[in-house]
Symmetry: C2
Subunit: 211 residues, 2 copies
């Protein structure tokens, strides 16, 4: 039997995958290098060989998870489609991503709040100014039609994303609630239904705003 040697790339990927999972589940402070090594199926010293320290390993993982969260969203908001279609597509795409990575919101919000030094990577990934400019340029008429003043656009943006992100951050509380209320539907079923509910809700609100 020929023993196939795992190359360094494979090892690095194994470490990265394990570290992503552990950090996402437990956060930086509660994550243990030993547990990451165990899940990757390697020795603990090898972690320090590939990534010098826990901090560096974390930062590498953090940047990738940050991109996983925001890249698709950014691309949706850059698209050349109507504002209503954009909202529908946003919920469809973002909720799909979050169903596959349900721990992402709480992990990111938490680490950003505890480690202000992570700010640089955020600015580069989540390009707010660019997004706002695109929205102003492409949807100025629609937004004015809806009675949204210029200064209220941040309020609207926060509202839209919170409807997709918050349920994942509050996922365990929601599961307890649903269980106690005798709701037999799963959390994922709830989030599937939320795609349409959120789209309709936002569009209905915009069509009925006081001008």
């Amino acid at each position: 039997m020929v023993k196939v040697k795992t190359t360094d790339l494979q090892t690095q990927e194994k470490i990265f995958k394990a570290a992503s999972e552990i950090f996402e589940e437990k956060g930086f402070a509660a994550a243990r290098m030993q547990e990451i090594a165990d899940r990757a199926g390697i020795n603990k010293a090898l972690l320090h060989y590939y990534f010098r320290s826990k901090e560096l390993l974390f930062e590498a993982v953090f940047q990738v998870l940050l991109k996983k969260m925001f890249e698709k969203i950014l691309s949706v908001f850059m698209m050349d489609i109507s504002f209503e279609k954009k909202i529908k597509l946003y919920y469809e795409e973002h909720i799909n991503i979050l169903i596959r990575n349900p721990n992402l919101p709480l992990f990111l919000l938490n680490e950003i709040s505890h480690n202000p030094g992570l700010g640089k990577g955020i600015r580069e990934t989540l390009r707010y100014a660019e997004m706002r400019d695109v929205i102003y340029r492409k949807h100025a008429k629609e937004i004015r039609k809806y009675g949204i003043r210029k200064g209220e656009l941040p309020q609207l943006m926060v509202t839209i994303v919170s409807m997709a992100i918050f349920p994942f951050a509050a996922r365990n509380v929601m599961k307890m609630m649903m269980e106690q209320l005798g709701d037999t539907k799963s959390f994922n079923t709830f989030m599937q239904a939320r795609k349409e509910f959120a789209s309709d809700f936002v569009i209905a609100a915009l069509k009925n705003r006081k001008k």
Copy 2:
């Protein structure tokens, strides 16, 4: 000079206050007993004298902070006023509480998600079934008028609370955004404006729902 002896109650309160602050800021895993002792101005061994372990101290603090988050909200939703007035009052009261305790949402969501054993206290404090029954009983007609089906009520509830809670959980990200966008208003000013924006948004959406 007469040295006034601090009574045990004063000491216990000092410890509790310091522990609340540290746990709220850093979370259970990153909080240090030494730091709590320092902030309380006492010896570390005294922490273990009043609260046997870090876990017990944390659980005591957690229950109080959980109540601080949900007690007022529960009382608002129990009141005998119209649904629209209830929504307005909810945002007014809850956002006021959160402005005074901005770290509360992320702290609670995070600890609940990392420690499922905390579930008991949550069920007793956040009495979902009771809240849902009250809403069904008092507002059945309004909710039907708005085109909200019975099964969609959880969607509506999550939407309402997320608009108040999420911005605090994402507070640091929002601060970065506002800074980069050249927004000179403070986060608290944003949240003050959000009281009216959120009320209007929810009411507008409800009045315009497809039946």
